[in-house]
Symmetry: C2
DNA sequence: ACTGTTACTCACCGATTGGTGACAGACCGG
DNA sequence: CCGGTCTGTCACCAATCGGTGAGTAACAGT
């Protein structure tokens, strides 16, 4: 990539010059991070490595070592980005709606989370990564993500009091676990436990079932 | 491994001769399959390759190509084994119990499935594999698994009629999805969505929450 | 214009990967 | 005894991996 532009410059520059991006460290850093995120989102964590990222970023892998301290640092940077995931991807104005009960809230949050996860391939890969490996890299990703998720839940809860006599943490963990696995399985194979999940109609059924599940516990 | 025994034999055989296993095709096939399953269960699908399997089986990788047609065939053999998973790992006598309602049944099945999955590292790796990759190998594994799971559900349902007005397939998919993700996340990082899952007490809480969830929809 | 720093590239390293062809020895039928 | 088949071993291949040291080109300060 970069070579082509450089060569083009040497050859007195042919017609188009697509973004030179020479000797601009911060721009290169951004390009690397972007390349890493796109690569992870599209290819998954299987082929996620120094060489592949450098190849996609169109720069030498040495720069990844220099600017991010290797793959670990790069993953950490991704994790930092991911800390703002809920803030970036999920509308916060749900508090302004008529959420009278804890059940109202959880139903809404569950549906929002389902949709957001369904629309974000990067986040899906990260979640899949979390349940597949246990390296230090992944641990950090996982922590950042669950922390930000927990804060989101707290923030949205506001002054609503959860029902007594129910282990809310455990029940909510199960609910969000079901959403995550459903979306992951669907993204991977188009179905989950025999339930086909491809077109919007399929997903509408799943959403209804999810509502029923939430309403079952929280009324 | 095998070299050591061979050398020992050439050296007029020292004291112990741990299972010679020479020139016995079916035994070698079994050893390879066993090695593959153990490797997958212990190391995960990340480092699951021809070389690693051959190394663990103590034979040349060429034999894997000859006897199984490469990794694909080997994975398929594992999948065939996995087709009997529910039969092997989950007691079938639950039908003889007092399961009066569909809710009784699903609660029992959910708990059985949770426990069985928790106790089987190989199956956990396979499930994690399913949501992480979409190769032909994994597809076959996934199909065999979900098919056998579906048959199990049908078999256990017996003459019990599911409640009307509920999309049982979708709800059950969500329930089993929650179990799978919970167990996977716990096995990977010891927690799921902030809920710590390490000792038996933690799991007891999760089981209670699971019951509540099932009872919520199915009464 | 000289100098030093910054941004970047390149060439190479050892290790490991999936895959293949050639070979050696045990066994069996003639 | 010989010849062929079966089982298993070994040596080698190109490709890729993560990682490093050395070198080059562009810029800034003086």
């Amino acid at each position: 990539m970069l070579n082509e532009t450089a060569v083009a410059v040497l050859e007195q520059s042919s017609a188009t010059e697509p973004e030179k991006r020479i000797r601009d460290r911060s721009a290169t850093e951004r390009a690397i991070l972007k390349a890493a995120k796109n690569l992870l989102a599209e290819e998954g964590f299987q082929n996620f490595g120094i060489n592949a990222v450098a190849r996609r970023a169109g720069c030498d892998k040495q720069l990844i070592y220099r600017y991010y301290g290797g793959l670990d640092g790069l993953v950490e940077a991704i994790g930092t980005d991911l800390g703002n995931w809920v803030k970036d991807r999920i509308p916060e104005d749900a508090g302004g709606m008529f959420l009278l009960t804890y059940g109202d809230l959880m139903e809404r949050l569950a549906l929002l989370f389902l949709e957001a996860l369904r629309d974000d391939p990067l986040m899906r890969r990260v979640v899949a990564w979390e349940v597949s490996e246990n390296t230090e890299q992944v641990k950090r990703l996982s922590e950042a993500r669950s922390k930000s998720l927990g804060q989101w839940l707290d923030r949205m809860r506001g002054s609503l009091t959860p029902p007594k006599g129910i282990d809310v943490a455990a029940v909510n963990a199960l609910i969000f676990a079901s959403i995550q696995h459903l979306v992951l399985a669907a993204a991977a194979g188009g179905q989950c436990a025999g339930l086909v999940l491809k077109n919007n109609k399929d997903w509408e059924k799943a959403a209804i079932a999810l509502k029923r599940l939430v309403r079952g516990v929280y009324g």
